[in-house]
Subunit: 198 residues, 2 copies
């Protein structure tokens, strides 16, 4: 069976393997998730830290065919092609203001990102993979979800499921179906105050 290219990831420093083993495949099996699996994903996200413990994240998910078709509408054509096969599609929303307040929350997106990371790691604990997408029409996502743009912003679409063979994908996507690399350690980390150019 063709599972895609070999894994090119090599850690530069000792670290728990879960961080290296997590990646974002596009080929998912058309196999349903259980209620327990789905609840477990969001449970992980729910315990993430946030500014003033405001928990500015909100998750909407689609598992029925009807909901998944609806949720796939805002996706780019390219993402829709593979994400439609995943048994679970999620939109992750970030609340713009602190709960019950008109004060903008500078960390709404940052905190939503932390919650997304927790979900992605818990997916691996369940033998699943999660793939977050920026490729969707934000305005359309607001319409589909019926979410006012002055209350929330839709930050990410997320597909979750069991990994499938690369050969289930189009030739173009199959060629990309492997874990990607990272910048070197010293490009993103430094001691003291001099910050290099991005």
């Amino acid at each position: 069976m063709n599972w895609g290219k070999p894994n090119p990831r090599i850690a530069a420093h000792e670290v728990d393997a879960m961080f290296i083993d997590r990646w974002s495949p596009r080929s998912f099996l058309d196999k349903e998730l259980t209620d327990e699996q789905i609840a477990s994903l969001f449970e992980a996200a729910r315990w993430s830290p946030s500014c003033f413990n405001d928990q500015p994240w909100h998750f909407r998910y689609a598992r029925s065919d009807t909901d998944r078709v609806l949720f796939s509408e805002p996706l780019t054509e390219k993402n829709r092609l593979w994400a439609m096969r995943a048994p679970l599609l999620i939109y992750l929303l970030a609340r713009l203001h602190f709960a019950g307040s008109s004060k903008p929350n500078r960390h709404n997106s940052f905190d939503a990102g932390a919650a997304w990371m927790s979900l992605a790691l818990q997916a691996r604990r369940l033998g699943l993979y999660a793939h977050a997408m920026a490729g969707f029409d934000v305005k359309k996502a607001h319409e589909v979800l019926n979410v006012p743009e002055d209350e929330y912003t839709v930050m990410a679409a997320i597909a979750v499921g069991y990994r499938g063979r690369a050969s289930l994908l189009t030739e173009e996507l199959a060629a990309m179906e492997s874990p990607n690399c990272r910048k070197t350690y010293s490009e993103v980390v430094g001691e003291g105050v001099v910050v290099p150019k991005g």
Copy 2:
């Protein structure tokens, strides 16, 4: 010894214990971290997912007394009080535009949040705790770090170290020294398209 109040956290659904066990104490031991521990924290963050794999995060850290004093300057008085004891202070920066481009990256803060979550979980793997702070003067942080505001935004200050006794803190902070709760599952997760009010 007084380690603070008992842990009030109860998971609503089966989930890996690491998500429940992670929290943000304020009392840190004045005990140095090794080079390996520090590298391990950033290694975890480095493998986080990001939009177009742009990796918009950058970490600056302080471990020497001189650097920690400098890094503590932008913190609020209240945070400086406890964070100064931690052996490692970090600023997490998010690059505003895609690398080598003038195109704004809508997900810079979201992706930085994912990297922060990885760091926090790896800290626990090492027997350490990480506490992210929003309470700092952003403008001052840019000055101290010498980071132009049109290239990066300083998203979080992070203290990392071994947990200390609550009695090392002021009375006010000692009273707060315990894991906090979360909204209920149904407040932050739902199936289909109707989103409740924040």
